[in-house]
Subunit: 280 residues, 2 copies
């Protein structure tokens, strides 16, 4: 009985132009990214307020419910209705959420941007996650992914101060691209899209412009994705969790450069490519 939930499509303006004065007293204007509150109501119960860019509020809401493990299946969701006039989203479930009180009581304030509050039990789950050992990523595909990101149209290029996340096939084709003021909103929005479209992670590659902190690694694992790439670096706990999970963690991915931190056996190295000029 997999019936797709009803969704609004309430994307809002992503940037705003503001006046600035520079070091020489010159007045000009720049674009800055939007940041707006989105209060999530589940079956009329206020759950949380997310601060978001507002580009994909329905996917963000779905991904939040998924990654917080508040809803087990997309089939349990009847509708997601965003109303920017009141900065809120109303989620209607088919059967309600069991013991929501208990499951939303424990707070973890994480390192991540955007989605700081993780309800309890995340680390408990990690031990049960098994990532595919036979998945492989070619260095040439890695370069294709990095180059796709480099040439991607983005709010970042216009306004800065946002994080981007993307999901790629093992062949290097980009399936989704989401930006948000917080990278945890961006990863949750990707998770929401995957959930809605019935896309699984075991043969996918996840890319983020943000740091590979513990929560980012855990979220990647929750989506079952064996490859986690970042333009940025990692933290001790992100590294530790990835090692524990056998996830392939690649940091500092820019141009032809990258640093493989964990799960290196999944990489098919083609070191001669490091010399080839980048193709735009």
């Amino acid at each position: 009985m997999s019936s797709r939930p009803h969704l609004t499509n309430a994307s809002a303006a992503l940037t705003r132009e503001v006046e600035v004065m520079d070091e020489r007293g010159r007045i000009s204007t720049i674009f800055i990214p939007a940041e707006r509150p989105l209060t999530v109501y589940v079956d009329k119960r206020e759950l949380v307020t997310l601060m978001t860019l507002g580009g994909a509020p329905e996917m963000l809401t779905l991904g939040y419910l998924r990654n917080q493990r508040l809803v087990r299946s997309i089939d349990d969701i009847e509708s997601v209705t965003v109303d920017w006039s009141v900065d809120s989203v109303a989620v209607k479930t088919r059967n309600g959420i069991a013991d929501i009180e208990e499951r939303t009581s424990k707070k973890v304030v994480t390192t991540g941007c955007g989605q700081g509050s993780v309800f309890g039990g995340l680390m408990d789950e990690v031990d049960q996650i098994v990532l595919p050992a036979d998945a492989r990523l070619k260095q040439s595909v890695l370069y294709r992914i990095v180059d796709t990101i480099r040439t991607q149209q983005s709010v970042y290029k216009q306004a800065g101060s946002v994080h981007g996340c993307a999901l790629f096939t093992a062949g290097g084709d980009m399936l989704y691209w989401v930006e948000d003021v917080g990278r945890h909103n961006a990863v949750d929005s990707i998770a929401g899209r995957m959930w809605l479209d019935g896309v699984s992670g075991e043969d996918k590659v996840f890319y983020t412009t943000g740091r590979l902190t513990s929560e980012m690694v855990i979220k990647g694992a929750q989506m079952g994705i064996p490859f986690l790439l970042s333009r940025s670096g990692t933290t001790q706990m992100g590294h530790m969790v990835a090692e524990k999970l056998g996830m392939t963690l690649l940091a500092r991915c820019t141009g032809k450069h990258f640093l493989a931190l964990t799960g290196r056996d999944r990489l098919i190295m083609e070191p001669h490519l490091a010399d080839v000029l980048r193709v735009a």
Copy 2:
């Protein structure tokens, strides 16, 4: 009866060396920043778990309680005892926290790194905050601050992936410097130090390497600081709140460059300095 609380001094190792493989298959090691959970207990009640670098856990705890408005005065705190063997900090108050249940019930998941969970009422407070209109910042002092940050020894320079915050006098002398995996932990740690030392914000300048999101601006305002500087950019809500508060917001502060977004009347411009070579 202002008696200073008893504090441990439980700074932990801030970086760890890990093995990496680069694009040519070369094995080497890099340093990555620590990231560890710190569960905060107030009068034996579990409050929250913060993910932190671990450099200033006592100050982080004090600043968190202050900025969340859970404790009104530093005098109400008897002791702050960090025990890394159990990744926790025990806070003992003199008189307990009134209606803590009610005040910790509302969750806002913010854009900011590090401290994502803000208990309710932050925005309600903003309207009541009045920042000093007569405070002034000279362009030459701004440059001195930026240069002090540039030459500051830091975990960032060794390991990357951390945010730094600093508090300066109106003359450009650095009082505090704190780094953390999340910039909201860093700003809270500064707030904790100010609280403990009885330092007020009205004649101070706050610097952060992170983005000027709504929560950063609100926290700066809560500390009564009229000047908020960042190497990075801002968001629409950060800009809006700063405008509302009449806070002086300076973004993209690097070298001789900066962009004054709001509160420009507090700036004493010396545009000829933009041509002078940087003094290290």
